[in-house]
């Protein structure tokens, strides 16, 4: 009998939609951390709560239907349960298994797999109210006796029940630990029991010889039989990374394993089963046995609220209409609620900058560093928070109520041909507002391959930062020449280019490039229920915190680096020399002013000229900065697209953040602070002439540059978030490279082909 120690580690596991997260949040409150398991996209949630005098450390594993090693979620869960992912490489002391009472049979499948691992289990039965509404009465005491695990029944949403859970847990934990070592194979038919014993001894022989710490369990038997390839691959990686065996030792072990697995498969024929599917049938037969007389139907099942609501929500016509409305509302709120907050933040940043500037206590270098580097950097991180918060608020509510599954059901066909599925729809649509929260919301996609390809195409959706670019160039070059109708059409076209390429690229990614196996698209439609405010709050809080801490650092750093590239080198003398004439003119006027102090026309003229001097000097500094020199250096690269060196500088400067191009062009053309509506900037662009006197910018140039912006990934925040969500640097690098190449070549094609016609 195991002595109850002061600290225990628990793995929390169960099917999706069982209220597992509600239990986790209710037990741990704010004492929880979210992160990623190293190098993978799976979320790691760790929480703490006290029970009597025991400190419980609890790992919330992803919701699963079964433990394989084919999908990344399952591999991580298997890793945690076999001790590979925890501190000191020990197995969890206990498993808390969440059972959905209204769905008992299927829920017990995963439980049986966990019992095969022989870890002590405490069963927590949730959704009793749903079961009741379906007219079911469950004798869970008897069920617990048959399974030989303690089962506590609660209503996860009820605060009192959570209290009750906490008081009953110590007893349940003790009881579960007493049963440790219980051989659950007695639940299985006799011949399977014998077969499992035999097969396990074979596997143990192999691992015994290697001298590794790995102890195979009964579950290993069914994994090796039903998913041999993946199991061997899993073992190979484990032995390589965790046990640091040499390649030769690993090869020997794998060969032995393959031999023994053949033996195991041959032996199965002795027991009259040939197909891996027998494992599934056998477990469900055992479940049927255990469930005999457990569930009694008290009354004839009447239509539940869910069935009633689904008549509308998944209705062929009304369901779609409703869905489109919900999407529209979501979008609208991002603009209505996020915009004012973002403007407020912008103003705050501006005020802070002004404060620093006006204080006059900093030398110019330090002042610029603080204002344009640090403060601007912080501003560029913080500005995303409202959008992330609002988007996650919506997604959390949609998911908690159960509606998200319906939305995926409606949209799946649209996306399935590309290799994506219905769950990708909302993350992709959200990316039209901003790819940062859109990519973060790919959490709702449980298939790793689909999640990664969704993340890689999300930045192609025309986000709101591209709009100023479109507005500027359409407003200057398209509308005056071709009229507002054409202008509108061009805008629509620019918005559509992204999604069209996104679908094509998804297709290529999923069918030709990404090698992970496909999972079937299986989407459970849970019962509708009111969203838990606590769950929703934690979802939003988690997302914002994770973004600020992880993506925030990267974005801030890049901001400062870009500032340096624009600021240095700064030769004040040379700048003055280059504008000697203008300076002389101002001096002349100033000396005249001394003679005529009241001449307001003169004063105004001086002010005008001084402003012009300031702008021209800024333009000079930018052109001579490292960034400026880079732009000029790269001009030949961009010339086939129709850009000149000034536009090249603009493009390079906007790689960290798209909308910067407008402000940069304002500086280059010496109009001072400019935005896309700025009349001065617009006229300057129109006036620009090539050496031969013809206009530099034509409608075709405008289209070329807009196409470039539509497709290019110019957003360091997006790159930072891709890294954060995938856990690897290779994905943001891939995204950046492929999109830059795509943007370049498509813009090139457009410009060169356009030249032939226009």
């Amino acid at each position: 009998m195991k002595v109850l120690s002061k600290n225990i580690t628990v793995a929390l596991i169960g099917n999706p939609n069982t209220g597992k997260t509600t239990v986790f949040n209710a037990l741990c409150g704010t004492r929880q951390r979210t992160g990623n398991y190293p190098g993978v996209t799976v979320e790691k949630r760790l929480g703490y709560f006290p029970v009597d005098d025991i400190n419980v450390e609890i790992y919330d594993l992803p919701g699963l239907y079964s433990l394989h090693v084919t999908s990344i979620d399952e591999r991580i869960a298997f890793d945690v349960l076999t001790g590979k992912r925890l501190e000191e490489k020990k197995k969890p002391d206990l498993v808390f298994y969440i059972i959905d009472a209204s769905n008992l049979k299927r829920n017990l499948y995963l439980l049986f797999q966990i019992l095969e691992l022989r870890i002590p289990v405490v069963g927590i039965l949730t959704m009793m109210d749903v079961a009741q509404k379906k007219g079911m009465k469950i004798d869970y005491t008897l069920l617990g006796e048959r399974l030989k695990i303690p089962i506590l029944a609660i209503n996860a949403k009820d605060g009192n029940d959570i209290q009750k859970l906490k008081t009953e847990l110590p007893g349940a934990i003790k009881k579960a630990l007493e049963n440790a070592g219980e051989n659950y194979l007695d639940l299985y038919p006799g011949n399977f029991k014998k077969y499992y014993e035999f097969s396990l001894s074979k596997l143990q022989e192999v691992f015994g010889k290697t001298g590794t710490a790995y102890k195979p369990t009964y579950l290993d038997v069914s994994l090796a039989y039903t998913a041999q390839e993946e199991y061997l691959q899993y073992m190979k990686e484990y032995l390589l990374y965790e046990e640091a065996l040499s390649h030769q030792e690993i090869q020997v072990t794998l060969d032995e394993l393959k031999k023994e697995i053949q033996v195991i498969k041959e032996k199965a024929k002795e027991y009259f089963f040939y197909a891996p599917s027998q494992f599934v049938q056998m477990r469900y037969r055992a479940i049927d046995n255990v469930l005999r007389d457990i569930i009694t139907i008290e009354q004839l099942e009447k239509k539940t609220a869910t069935e009633f609501l689904d008549q509308i929500f998944t209705h062929k016509f009304w369901g779609l209409i409703l869905f489109l409305n919900i999407m529209a509302v979501m979008f609208q709120s991002i603009y209505t609620w996020a915009e004012p907050i973002m403007e407020f933040l912008d103003e705050g940043v501006g005020a802070l900058s002004d404060l620093v500037r006006q204080s006059g206590i900093f030398p110019p270098l330090l002042e610029s560093f603080l204002v344009d580097g640090v403060i601007a950097g912080i501003g560029s991180v913080v500005v995303f928070v409202p959008q992330i918060a609002i988007l996650f608020l919506f997604i959390a509510i949609l998911e908690d109520t159960g509606y998200l599954a319906r939305a995926s059901f409606l949209m799946d066909k649209l996306l399935s041909w590309t290799g994506l599925n219905g769950r990708s729809f909302i993350p992709l649509i959200s990316s039209f507002a901003c790819a940062v929260p859109g990519i973060m919301s790919t959490r709702v996609i449980n298939d790793d391959k689909v999640r990664i390809s969704t993340i890689l195409v999300a930045p192609l959706m025309s986000c709101s930062a591209r709009l100023p670019v479109y507005v500027l160039f359409i407003g200057v070059f398209i509308e005056p020449v071709y009229g507002p109708l054409f202008a509108g059409l061009t805008l629509f076209l620019m918005y559509s280019i992204g999604p069209v390429f996104a679908l094509i690229i998804s297709y290529i990614l999923n069918h030709k490039i990404l090698k992970t196996p496909s999972l079937p698209f299986v989407m459970e439609l849970p019962e509708y229920h009111f969203p838990s405010l606590r769950n929703v709050f934690f979802r939003v809080y988690d997302a914002v915190k994770a973004f600020l801490l992880r993506a925030g650092k990267v974005i801030f750093t890049v901001s400062v680096v870009i500032w340096a590239l624009i600021y240095f080198p700064r030769d004040e003398e040379k700048a003055m020399q280059a504008h000697a004439d203008l300076i002389a003119e101002i001096e002349t006027l100033k000396s005249r002013l001394e003679a005529e102090p009241d001449n307001s026309e003169l004063t105004a003229k001086i002010q005008e000229l001084e402003e012009e001097l300031g702008n021209k000097i800024e333009a000079f500094h930018l052109a001579n900065s490292y960034l400026g020199r880079l732009g000029k250096f790269l001009e030949p690269v961009f010339r086939p697209l129709g850009f000149d060196w000034k536009l090249s500088i603009g493009v390079i400067s906007s790689f960290p953040a798209r909308e910067v191009i407008v402000a940069t062009l304002g500086i280059i053309y010496s109009v001072g602070e400019a935005d896309e509506e700025s009349v001065d900037l617009r006229s300057k662009l129109l006036e620009e002439k090539k050496p031969d006197g013809t206009p530099l910018y034509t409608p075709l140039t405008a289209i070329s540059i807009m196409v470039f912006y539509a497709l290019c990934l110019q957003c360091v925040s997006t790159l930072a978030v891709i890294k954060k969500e995938t856990g690897r640097w290779k994905y943001p690098v891939i995204a950046f490279l492929y999109q830059t190449l795509l943007a370049y070549f498509v813009a090139l094609l457009v410009y060169q082909i356009g030249k032939l016609f226009l």
């Binding site: 299927r106 039903t226 779609l320 698209f521 989407m523």
Partner: protein, 87 residues
């Protein structure tokens, strides 16, 4: 493999007509997963409706509702039954 005359695949089932799974056409990891979700032999299923664009199909099995693409469901052969015996 015996496919009796009254066996059709789940994706061809008329809506709201209960049926019992009789044969599973082939075995691969995709099918295996669907079996683990409850689509096993002798288990009752019912097709409820399809999505606006035709796919996927919402079905009821083992007492819960799930949507699965028709291509995957076409591997499961069922026999229509006269009465519903879900419980």
């Amino acid at each position: 493999m015996n496919t009796g005359q009254n066996y059709i695949t789940i994706d061809k089932l008329e809506f709201e007509k209960p049926a019992k799974i009789k044969e599973i056409k082939k075995y691969d990891t995709v099918i295996y997963r669907l079996m683990e979700m409850g689509l096993i032999q002798e288990e009752m299923v019912k097709a409820i409706k399809d999505a606006p664009l035709g796919d996927p199909l919402e079905i009821e099995v083992m007492g819960y509702k799930v949507c699965i693409r028709k291509k995957e469901l076409s591997n499961f052969y069922v026999e229509e039954v006269m009465y519903e015996s879900f419980k």
